[in-house]
Amino acid sequence: MIRLDNIVATYTTQRGQVNAVDGVTLEIPDSIVMGIAGESGCGKSTLMKVLYGDIGFPLSLSSGSVDYGLVNERGEPVTTDNIRSEWFRHISYIPQSSMSSLNPVVRIRDQFVDFPATAGRKKEVLAQVRDFVQKLGLPPESIDAYPHQLSGGMRQRIMVAMATFFQPEIILADEPTTALDVVVQKSILLLLLDLQKEMRNTIMLVSHDMGVHYQITDKMLIMYAAKVVEYADTDDIFQSPLHPYTLMLTNSLPTIGDERARRGLPGSPPSLWEPQVGCRFAARCPIAADRCRQEEPPLTEYQRGHFSACHFAGDVAALKESMQAGPSLSEVAHDTSKLMLDLEADR
């Protein structure tokens, strides 16, 4: 179990300080794939940085800490203070862009074994690495190549191999397949799932693609403007969400075979530079009331394992029904007055 206790992560900039993650308290069970979703700027990547313990200027932790539920070699519990010494061994990171994460002028095999633990037994480790990359569907010779000689998909497999070689308990993946084509994306995601099933580790996956979340995650965290707005099992997130933002996010894009007209989510999140009063989603929310603009809703467990930060969580089901009863694509396609343009609202 990973426990986050009131995490506040702050960026210090020329304009002053801004909280990119503002009071996140969570418990993440072991051996699950957990997805983190939200619009750009909602704090999902910053939360990943905090989880990885990669905290340095301009990012700082103003409050809270992470308890990873692990014990290090000296028998001490692993927390934010000492997570850095567990990098690769117990926690690893798969970045979005493999091209800017691998050293372009060093062969991949040398990057694989370039740390003190392999001193004196590099040959032995390299043989294991070759076996391992073969298991991941790469030719063993591929580690002799330079990064630019491999395709994007192969490089991303190398990144997965590096992140999983020591069978860490926790793997953080920040948009691991965004730069890839759908065909390659599917193979990488299935590879990650296979490895997770075998190694029983916890994967935290950031993606803006709700389809990716639906396909591979067990639980999901929805973030909006530096706050957690909903946290639940993936099936509940999609079938019975308890926050209007989650509902609108999962319904914002069309799917093949679905003939409903879609309207997206007009407007933009509030600027975090301004002091926040009430619910941060209120300005874009179709069911917001005066209470929402004055009183901030706390993250509440409405059903077992299903958390939502909405005063009107009970009304989301009705909102979902009304959205599903909306006009079909063929009704609006030739009638611009019925097309849900929302151009005025999207400022």
Partner: protein, 275 residues
Amino acid sequence: MNTILKTQGLNKVYSLGSFPRTIKVQALDDINLDIESDQPVIVSLVGESGSGKTTLAKVILRLVQPSSGAVTVAGHTVAGKGTRPNHNEFLRTVQPIFQNPFEAFSQHRTVDSYLRETAERVGKLHKDAAIQAVEEALAAVGLQYSDVRGKYPNQFSGGELQRASVARALIPRPQLIVADEPVSMIDASRRMIIINLFMALKEEYRTSFLYITHDLATAYYISDYIAVMNKGRIVEFGDAKQVLSQPQHEYTQLLLDSIPRLNSRWVERRNPTTG
């Protein structure tokens, strides 16, 4: 029936590297498209990166000279060896919208100066009439001239700036707008606003769109026709709903199977709360 877009035996070979180790890459391999309709249409061009879809867009926009073949848009031959269409007439026939609006507009110029210049040079309008045309085009995309005037690109959000670039493309009232990945830089939650706008403009401005994307779901949503490209060839072409619900070519099937859908899973997931 009017010909909206026609390509005949279009080829493009890029030569990479220098002698004696030149590598030839066939980016377009005998592309024959013939789209005829009395009504304006939205045609999607889908495929993986490297499939040649951007090269095809560039050939239609005269940014890349084809190795052989010709392109006709609404009766005007726009590209092909030796084709030299009147520049202004070409710009009144085809207009582009690019992927990243922040790169399409210079950071050192105001956005409205681009719009006014398009109206003056391509539309051949005098000052007042040009401003009126700009106002009209901006209103069509839900922006007001007074809000845009004097602003630089960095003062807009991505969605607003992309709408301004749609407005710019509308000013010459082109027959065809070539939109290369127009929504991939825009946050997923707000993409549909631009997509719905394309559908509205098709009806109001009678403009056809060539919508280039790797996202099959939005292609399914807006297109009348779809062309699936793979390795420089068009492997499947037809009615968009039909191609995507009953794909005939195995490459289209592979693409469709690989989309992370919201209704059926690749592998079963367990329920973490109840076990």
